[in-house]
Symmetry: C2
Subunit: 190 residues, 2 copies
DNA sequence: TTCGCCATGTAATAGGTTACATGATTGC
DNA sequence: GCAATCATGTAACCTATTACATGGCGAA
């Protein structure tokens, strides 16, 4: 077992701290409702990671004896201090924005401006839909003053989405032509 | 060897198409100058992925006999059509925005509003710096009409950065308080 | 001509992803 | 009581990341 903590680790620790003792399924739900919108964590990780953290003493595992025999994880002192230690560290590294639509646009392999326009319109719609989801999620949290920080994070998501919608609409309105190939592809020899 | 193509694969194919026959080092450079700003690809991948693609017949490998014995990869017909096939597919999946600062904010584990403010200011500065880099990169490309698509992608990056700067400045100006822990951590038993 | 950085790669590992698989609940 | 879905997990694979390692090349 490797003792290094990844973003996933801190996510799990943080969620347990925020929501109290949690089962992996609880974590999965919490992620889906909030940060999962822009940073996806597959559920299998949310099952394996807490177990790993328990092995490191940062969580304590408790298991139901009957029914679903859920594993419920509790934050330990050590876990709490690992978490607040991380908070105190500087936060290096830029934002990673992985967006396949953007990659396609960047590579400039679209055959025609028309094809670019079609994709851009699709992207704009998708981002619009995403924005609506954020707004709904945010409205649900609006009542609770304790979660101001969570909402703040959502707000950045919302701003990004608005920018993305604007951006793709601009692209659709004025699609760039294809980047010409620098060489003629060769007959495949394989 | 697995024939599935990942975003990395298309990146490599697309760069070779755009820039002509390339060595892994060329790819590394091209990435660092452009898309690497918001989607990082470690250099080791840019060495192994072209080899894999060559194995699939999508690139052809040519090796220098003397000196550094570079491997230079050429696009094949098959590679070109894999690339344009991908372009025609719809682009599912949302943007993944991995940002550790945002994760920290979201988890609400900061001890105090003051700590939040300090981080927010740092983030704002970092994003400001990033924005400046994009602008410089964009200015370099401005002369060449062939790379309009690449520039368009950069422009989204720039918009994101502006939003991020604004956002973190707002957070710094009005930092949310910490989300209270839902449970008291337990003494570690390990 | 030597030093240092640029350039080129590879090995090992672990985290992430997909796919499978099954038991528990709940609603009808 | 049956079906559908929720909930819970695990195993295998692979991609990505880190770390190491070395030879070429240019500058002083």
């Amino acid at each position: 077992m490797n003792g290094n903590l990844t973003p996933t680790s801190y996510l799990v620790l943080g969620l347990v701290r925020m929501n109290g003792p949690s089962t992996p399924y609880d974590l999965k739900q919490a992620v889906a409702r909030s940060i999962g919108h822009f940073w996806s964590f597959p559920h299998s990780q949310l099952y394996t990671e807490p177990a790993r953290l328990a092995g490191l003493g940062l969580l304590r595992e408790e298991r139901e004896e009957s029914g679903r025999r859920r594993r419920r994880f509790h934050l330990t002192d050590q876990g709490a201090s690992a978490l607040s230690g991380w908070m105190r560290e500087p936060t290096p590294g830029n934002t990673e924005a992985h967006d396949l639509g953007l990659l396609k646009l960047f590579l400039g392999v679209m055959d025609s401006a028309e094809q670019v326009r079609a994709m851009a319109e699709r992207q704009a719609d998708d981002h619009q839909a995403q924005l609506a989801e954020y707004e709904a999620a945010d409205a649900e949290l609006a009542a609770d003053p304790d979660v101001a920080a969570c909402r703040a994070a959502l707000h950045l998501g919302m701003r990004y989405e608005r920018v993305a919608v604007e951006f793709w609409r601009d692209v659709a309105a004025n699609p760039p032509g294809p980047v010409p190939a620098a060489e003629t592809p060769e007959p495949t020899s394989a």
